[in-house]
């Protein structure tokens, strides 16, 4: 099984908080890999919130090709997080040339573009880079987005963190998501590592997605360039979130209604029955069948956790105003926020979405049977 940990804090934190939490939960994962997502960054990145940051792994040759490609587009390097690793990685971690985290200045020609167009172009650049890298096996690009860093690597999470020397002053974030153990369904491929990211939306998931193929087929036919990849069956959760918010204009409270709709009897008794019935029917191909625990992050820096209808995966949220964490196990939560009121810990069940908003003051529980907060 995978282990998930996410934390949101008013004060920027070192990603080591997440690695330590994964470490105490190590009995629950096999240490085959780790994925890290950082957002609302502190340190030097605090000063460049708008600059797109490219995260990925490159060979020497890949880096040269990247530089040529980016320069041709007009991107200028603004800041680079130097990650120096020892020449011989510890057992279980592959040898890589360059772990890249680099903030760019936008090309001058992009000045004055509206945000939508700007973001569309950023996604296109990332997809082009990914394609180039897949052709020559010399680059892997995890994200290219303002205020977001992603690091993924094969190996025991703590060893990876030590190898990459992630315990450093210039790497801090207010929102951190991390997952230990990567997908075993398919050959280990870093593109199959959670968390996944698309246009500001990120999710990571515990558990297999048994409805993967029909959902993938449906998403791929939506005509959205970013709906691709699918090396992991969990990538669809990110894209469903993106689809529900960007294409349908649905809030997070509808996400669970789309992926795990209520049964017909419950819908009939719901005050928003007509809407929910329509969603259930028209989004039928996005219904997941679990068993999954999904933790995600929205562009406004909210964190959330949703369970599938079967509620077969563990998950808990707890903390104190100013700092909340979502964890697969309570021991992970204990490691990260020991000084909290444990009686307020909450384990979302089959109809719950737990949300910690951008102000990080409380956990909101959105229950599917409750009326929807829709404008009248």
């Amino acid at each position: 099984m995978c282990r998930l940990f996410a934390i949101t804090s008013e004060e920027p934190l070192s990603p080591m908080v997440a690695f330590e939490a994964l470490d105490v939960m190590r009995e629950g994962h096999d240490g085959s890999g780790v994925g890290l997502f950082l957002r609302d960054l502190g340190g030097p990145f605090e000063e460049m919130k708008d600059a797109p940051i490219l995260s990925g792994i490159f060979t020497e040759n890949g880096l040269k090709r990247l530089d040529t490609f980016m320069m041709n587009l007009g991107f200028m390097t603004k800041y680079k997080l130097p990650i120096k690793v020892s020449r011989t990685p510890p057992a279980g971690i592959p040898k890589r040339d360059i772990y890249l985290v680099r903030a760019y200045e936008y090309p001058e020609e992009w000045d004055g573009l509206d945000q939508q167009e700007l973001y569309r172009r950023l996604v296109n650049v990332r997809l082009q880079l990914r394609k180039m890298g897949e052709a020559e096996h010399d680059m892997m690009v995890f994200s290219f987005w303002p205020d977001v860093i992603m690091i993924k690597e094969i190996g025991e999470p703590m060893k990876v963190a030590q190898h990459l020397k992630l315990d450093r002053k210039d790497l801090k974030a207010r929102v951190i998501m991390a997952q230990g153990r990567q997908n075993t369904n398919y050959a280990i491929n870093l593109y199959a590592c959670h968390p996944f990211f698309l246009e500001g939306y990120s999710t990571m998931t515990n558990g297999e997605n048994t409805a993967f193929i029909p959902i993938r087929d449906y998403l791929q036919s939506r005509g959205v360039p970013g709906y691709m990849g699918y090396q992991s069956d969990s990538e669809v959760f990110t894209h469903i979130l993106h689809y529900s918010q960007k294409r349908l204009g649905a809030g997070i409270e509808l996400y669970k209604h789309i992926i795990t709709p209520l049964q017909d009897g419950d819908i009939e008794a719901h005050p928003n029955a007509a809407l929910l019935q329509s969603l259930k029917q028209s989004c039928r191909r996005l219904i997941i069948d679990g068993p999954n625990c999904i933790i995600g992050c929205l562009p406004d820096h909210s964190l959330f956790m949703a369970q599938d209808r079967k509620k077969l995966r563990p998950g808990v949220v707890g903390g104190r105003p100013g700092r909340y964490a979502f964890s697969s196990e309570i021991c992970g939560l204990d490691a990260a926020i020991p000084d909290r009121d444990k009686s307020l810990d909450f384990q979302p069940m089959h109809i719950d979405t737990a949300i910690v908003g951008p102000n990080r003051q409380e956990v909101t529980i959105c229950r599917q049977t409750a009326p929807l907060p829709l404008p009248r």
Partner: protein, 544 residues
């Protein structure tokens, strides 16, 4: 037969017939029930002469000839009266003295079944046992990476949608604007396919309707039944049970005068309207109800004179193009019920199915597409149509589904598969396989007749006389002396058994796949087959 007697080309011996009747003189009590029950009069009274030679004990006394008569049955060899193997004689014989047996020799009767230049017509299905569907296995078994579900105790929602489903963006927009959203029915994915009032006996129809009502109202299973082409009894049209019925309109429009006139009196809308353009059992041919079955009741419901054969034209005569046939007719039928009832066409399996489907994708009123494969059954069709015409359902459905995926409309036009589902008895496995290939639901007819009413027809050309109204079980007969054999209450009970059994078997398939909250439509990763070419063609896993 004396050796010098002339023989005709069609003179056959019992040995030449496909079914041969074995009769045991020692057990027979000459009660005559077998000859009375035989639907094709294959048995007649036999008067046999027996000679015995008696040798007296005394010396010099000459042996004596003694000739006796005895009575029994004789199997007729005239092709018109050839045994059909229904084994009703065996069923009624109190002593177990008689039974038909399949000949171990090649069938010679087949060469003589076009007397008067009329080729053979019959009921039943294509006489080819087995189907590709039987070869498909469900190979994705949840165990450790995701826990298996308990088919008996977990919560399941086995439902499908019938009707045009809008893309989510449009659906939400229309909902906000209070616009028209096409009607969609949430129904059980196993539907009872069109078997007309006329093809089926009143008792069979009544039994099916009662069973469907029970499944809906007592067991909460939204099972739907199609009327087939032949109208609908007036009282059913005006009852609340109409909502469980899919009214079929086909090229003969039989019974539609009655239906249209009943619209103002309808308490409920029907579940849907099915426009039949083709039928898997006899592609390119219209419906056929032979004169034997057109009695006064049937004639009244269909709005025709009694005692005449009712062949529907192969196509809807008022139409001349796919746009006419599909778009306008769908729109007209939708309008008749105020756009509150889904309307969908049903075609026979064909290599041109994609053209029809592509047309439907552009028609916002099309509520689905039924495709009936070559293994579909019928009450009457020419043997040639049944055995040699048509397209297998598996690749037709798969192509259609993948076509919808390419168009991004796989959730919008439900595909309903039919034709030979469960023909080897594997109803749930065949249905689940078709659903995973891309069907939203399946329709069965023949299986229901076999399971709910004891139809003896099989893929070995047994019985198959539905067309002449002599159904020995009373399922497809309009003769009260025959259909009184069938108790509607018991048909209803068996129908409920069939659906409950199917439901459990379907759960036993989808639970180990880790699916319970939605029907695994298009879940092709769960399917495997050990034939490489089938795997390639259907784009599923090749497993050995």
């Amino acid at each position: 037969m004396p050796s010098n007697r002339p023989i005709t080309p069609s003179t056959l011996s019992v040995r030449d017939l496909p079914w041969q009747i074995a009769w045991n003189k020692d057990k027979c009590t000459l009660c005559g029930q077998c000859t009375a029950v035989c639907p094709v009069h294959a048995l007649e009274l036999g008067v046999f002469r027996k000679r015995t030679v008696e040798l007296p004990l005394g010396i010099g006394a000459p042996p004596e000839n003694r000739t006796q008569l005895f009575y029994g049955i004789r199997q007729r060899t005239d092709p018109a009266f050839a045994c059909v193997g229904c084994a009703m004689c065996t069923l009624v014989c109190p002593n177990g003295a008689i039974s038909p047996h399949r000949s171990d020799d090649a069938d010679k009767l087949v060469f003589h079944r076009d007397r008067c230049g009329v080729p053979r017509s019959r009921g039943g299905r294509r006489n080819t046992p087995g189907t590709v569907l039987d070869q498909l296995k469900f190979i994705r078994i949840s165990m450790l990476t995701d826990p298996a579900l308990d088919a008996g105790r977990h919560e399941f929602e086995i439902r499908t949608l019938l009707g045009r489903v809008l893309p989510p963006e449009d659906n939400l927009k229309f909902l906000r604007q209070n616009g028209w959203v096409p009607p969609v029915r949430e129904i059980y994915p196993l539907m009872i396919g069109g078997m007309s009032f006329g093809a089926l006996s009143p008792n069979m129809w009544e039994g099916l309707q009662m069973g469907v009502a029970y499944l809906n109202e007592e067991l909460g299973m939204p099972v739907r039944i199609s009327t087939g082409e032949g109208g609908c009894p007036p009282r059913l049209l005006r009852s609340r049970f109409l909502k469980y019925v899919i009214l079929q309109i086909a090229s003969g429009y039989f019974g539609w005068d009655e239906i249209i006139h009943a619209i103002p009196d309808m308490k409920e809308d029907p579940c849907a309207i099915e426009i039949k353009y083709g039928q898997g059992a006899k592609p390119g041919d219209g419906g056929l109800l032979m004169w034997y079955k057109v009695n006064r009741l049937i004639a009244a419901i269909r709005g025709v004179p009694a005692g005449v054969s009712l062949p529907s034209p192969p196509t809807h005569q008022t139409q001349y193009s796919i746009e006419e046939s599909v778009a306008k007719m769908i729109q007209s039928m939708s309008m008749a019920w105020g756009f509150r009832v889904p309307v969908y066409p049903k075609i026979s399996g064909t290599s041109t199915a994609m053209a029809v489907l592509n047309n439907l994708t552009r028609n916002p009123y099309a509520g689905g597409l039924g495709i009936d494969g070559e293994d579909g059954g019928t009450g009457a069709a020419y043997n040639i149509s049944m055995n040699h015409m048509g397209h297998p359902i598996a690749s037709n459905i798969r192509d259609a589904y993948l076509g919808l995926v390419t168009a991004g409309m796989e959730n919008e036009i439900p595909l309903i598969a039919g034709g030979g589902i469960g023909k080897s008895g594997n109803l749930a496995a065949n249905a689940a396989a078709l659903i995973m290939l891309g069907a939203s639901g399946v329709q069965v007819g023949k299986y229901i007749m076999q399971a709910a009413a004891g139809c003896v027809g099989a893929e070995s050309d047994r019985c198959n006389i539905c067309n002449i109204g002599q159904c020995p079980k009373g399922i497809t007969s309009q003769d009260p002396r025959l259909y009184r054999r069938l108790d509607p209450e018991l048909v209803a009970q068996r129908l409920v058994d069939v659906f409950l059994g199917f439901d459990m078997e379907l759960r036993k398939i989808i639970a180990p796949l880790g699916r319970s909250t939605s029907l695994p439509v298009g879940m092709s990763d769960a399917l495997g087959v050990s034939d490489y070419h089938i795997a390639e063609r259907l784009k599923i896993n090749y497993v050995v």
